[in-house]
């Protein structure tokens, strides 16, 4: 168990280092001069040179990389050109929106998908199974940002029940914050729930055909008892894995949904920085998001280790 942990930690560190190198190379080696982009086409040569020096662009690439990553590890992401404040503070502020949004979306998708998937598998080819199949097919095929637009159309424009967007911060109280994030979270959750329903159904069906389930029934457990004591716990591992793999899509979805609902989250920060050509912010937010995806997958891997003891010795 300890050896497996150490190996995974080393692999995590290597992946993070490689991720940062890829971002640095794409943002700094590909043609294009951030200083020229920042100043526009009419910039004087000496102003350009001064800005390049200020941005550290006149240093050799390896020096710039080490400087950037060294800063990032200690939490110093530099200062944004357009916002004029440290990037670290920007990221922290925006995380206070994106993390609760993602958390609510994951929770909502599990609340929808787990019961539906389990019910569909336990009554295969019944009405619940049909509903689950249609729901998951539609969920997977529908773009989350469009669901967001429809929710605005119905619940804000037509009915006026919910705000159509914006976020006034957590200082106005928990309930108010959750209310403002609710529609965006639903838009993010529905496609996720589509995927999860399908995976849950397949996982439960797989376990249902195992011998130990038949043994449990033979020992006198009824269907429901066997389902919740033996089938569901064993079906959780693949569900958790998919949840981890889907995290990447959730983050990409958050970029879109935050833009639909004009939420000041991490995705909208990256997008605004991109349109304002504030590439230092783009570079750092991309690093942050990619690192988040890697770490979440690492944690899911650990959880999997915990859920499935057979994996502890191998690999």
């Amino acid at each position: 168990m300890v050896a497996a942990m150490v190996k995974r930690l080393a692999s995590l560190a290597a992946t993070l280092a490689a991720v940062s190198m890829v971002i640095f190379l794409v943002m700094n080696v590909l043609p294009g001069d951030p200083a020229a982009v920042a100043l526009g086409t009419s910039a004087q040569e000496d102003t350009l040179a001064a800005l390049r020096h200020e941005m550290g662009l006149d240093q050799p690439l390896p020096v710039r990389y080490v400087h950037w990553v060294g800063g990032a590890i200690t939490g110093d992401f530099g200062t944004s050109a357009t916002y004029g404040v440290p990037v670290r503070g920007l990221i922290a502020d925006r995380l206070a929106v994106t993390l609760p949004l993602a958390g609510m979306a994951i929770l909502l998708s599990m609340l929808l998908a787990l019961p539906l998937g389990i019910l569909a598998a336990s009554r295969q080819n019944g009405a619940a199974d049909w509903i689950a199949t249609i729901f998951s097919q539609l969920g997977v095929a529908t773009p989350n940002f469009w669901i967001g637009l429809l929710l605005i159309l119905v619940f804000s424009t037509a009915l006026g029940w919910m705000p159509s967007g914006g976020f006034s911060g957590w200082n106005d109280g928990m309930i108010n914050g959750i209310k403002q994030l609710f529609l965006p979270a639903v838009a993010l959750a529905l496609p996720q729930a589509g995927v999860l329903t399908r995976v849950t159904r397949a996982a439960v069906l797989d376990v249902l055909s195992e011998d130990f389930v038949r043994t449990a029934r033979a020992k006198g457990l009824n269907r429901r008892q066997a389902l919740f004591r033996h089938v569901v716990p064993n079906a959780l591992a693949p569900v958790v894995t998919i949840l981890g793999l889907q995290f990447s899509f959730l983050v990409a979805g958050a970029v879109l949904v935050e833009n639909v609902f004009t939420l000041p989250g991490l995705g909208r920060l990256a997008y605004q920085a991109f349109t304002q050509r504030d590439f230092l912010v783009v570079q750092n937010v991309v690093l942050f998001i990619a690192a988040l995806v890697v770490v979440v997958n690492f944690l899911v891997d650990l959880l999997y280790l915990f859920l499935d003891p057979r994996l502890r010795s191998s690999r």
Binding site: T142, P143, F274
Partner: protein, 271 residues
């Protein structure tokens, strides 16, 4: 859903989508980019089958032209991602050892970048446009195809006929191309069909953010982005492109599922 139902429905929707994408460059009810301010924001059936947008452009014609753009970008991304990913997967499976380990760790690195995020990074470096969209979507598919190919190829490599081929003096490359690839082609085609749906969703997201095709080239994602301003006055502008995207992706997913059942007979029991 019964297998033939999925195959028929998915096949029919996909055929309609393909046909539209092929016809649109030659014929649409109106020129998709023709601006007619006098005809702006007309509801469906008042002007054209699906109404007009804020510049008086015919919505149906834009959707048809958008199908061509959407499908061409999706196909190019999937072909690129599948070709690179399959090559990497085959290499990893046949070489094993350090090569395998390095390639698969590299795939973990690529997988860390959600497609919208990598598109923003690439667009910052290269500018927006068709090539950036294709590169960003294809990049995300490489790990998917390489992992699939690697695990499928490793399964094939344990078969006796591979041992026989090796005993007959065939090298790794010939075994990979002559014995492994033909046997896993079905899995790759199934995955490509499903990834095509994902590529269409991603492309719509990219053009929704303005990271896709430059205007005035019609695209489903940008039609939705434009509709936000008029959502109260002209809801049809927000509904038609979304339904079109969902319908197209649904068709490809159903087709992918049905093909997957055909390729893997063990799944024919309605799993």
């Amino acid at each position: 859903m019964p297998r033939h139902g999925k195959l028929l429905l998915g096949g029919a929707i996909t055929a309609l989508f393909l046909l539209t994408a092929l016809i649109a460059p030659f014929w649409t009810p109106a020129a998709p980019t023709r601006i007619a301010i006098a005809e702006r924001l007309k509801p469906p059936l008042v002007a054209g089958l699906l109404g007009t947008d804020q510049l008086g452009r015919d919505v149906l014609s834009q959707l048809m032209a958008g199908a061509t753009n959407s499908l061409s970008i999706a196909i190019a991304s999937v072909l690129l991602g599948a070709a690179v990913g399959t090559a990497i997967g085959l290499l990893a499976a046949t070489r094993r050892g350090v090569v395998d380990e390095l390639l698969m760790r590299a795939m973990d690195v690529v997988f860390a970048f959600p497609p919208i995020v990598s598109a923003m990074m690439l667009a910052a470096a290269l500018g927006t446009g068709r090539m950036t969209a294709i590169a960003a979507i294809a990049t995300f598919m490489v790990p998917v195809f390489s992992r699939l190919t690697r695990s499928a190829a490793r399964r094939i490599l344990t078969h006796d006929y591979v041992l026989a081929a090796r005993a007959a003096g065939k090298g790794s490359r010939r075994i990979a191309l002559e014995h492994v690839l033909p046997n896993i082609a079905g899995d790759i085609v199934v995955q490509a069909t499903i990834q095509l749906g994902l590529a269409i969703l991603t492309e719509a997201g990219l053009s929704f953010l303005g990271l896709g095709l430059a205007p005035p080239a019609p695209s489903w994602g940008r039609m939705l982005a434009d509709s936000v301003t008029y959502i109260g006055a002209a809801p049809w502008l927000a509904i038609a492109p979304g339904v079109t995207i969902a319908f197209s992706v649904l068709g490809l997913n159903l087709l992918g599922d049905a093909l997957s059942d055909l390729v893997d007979p063990r799944r024919r029991q309605g799993r």
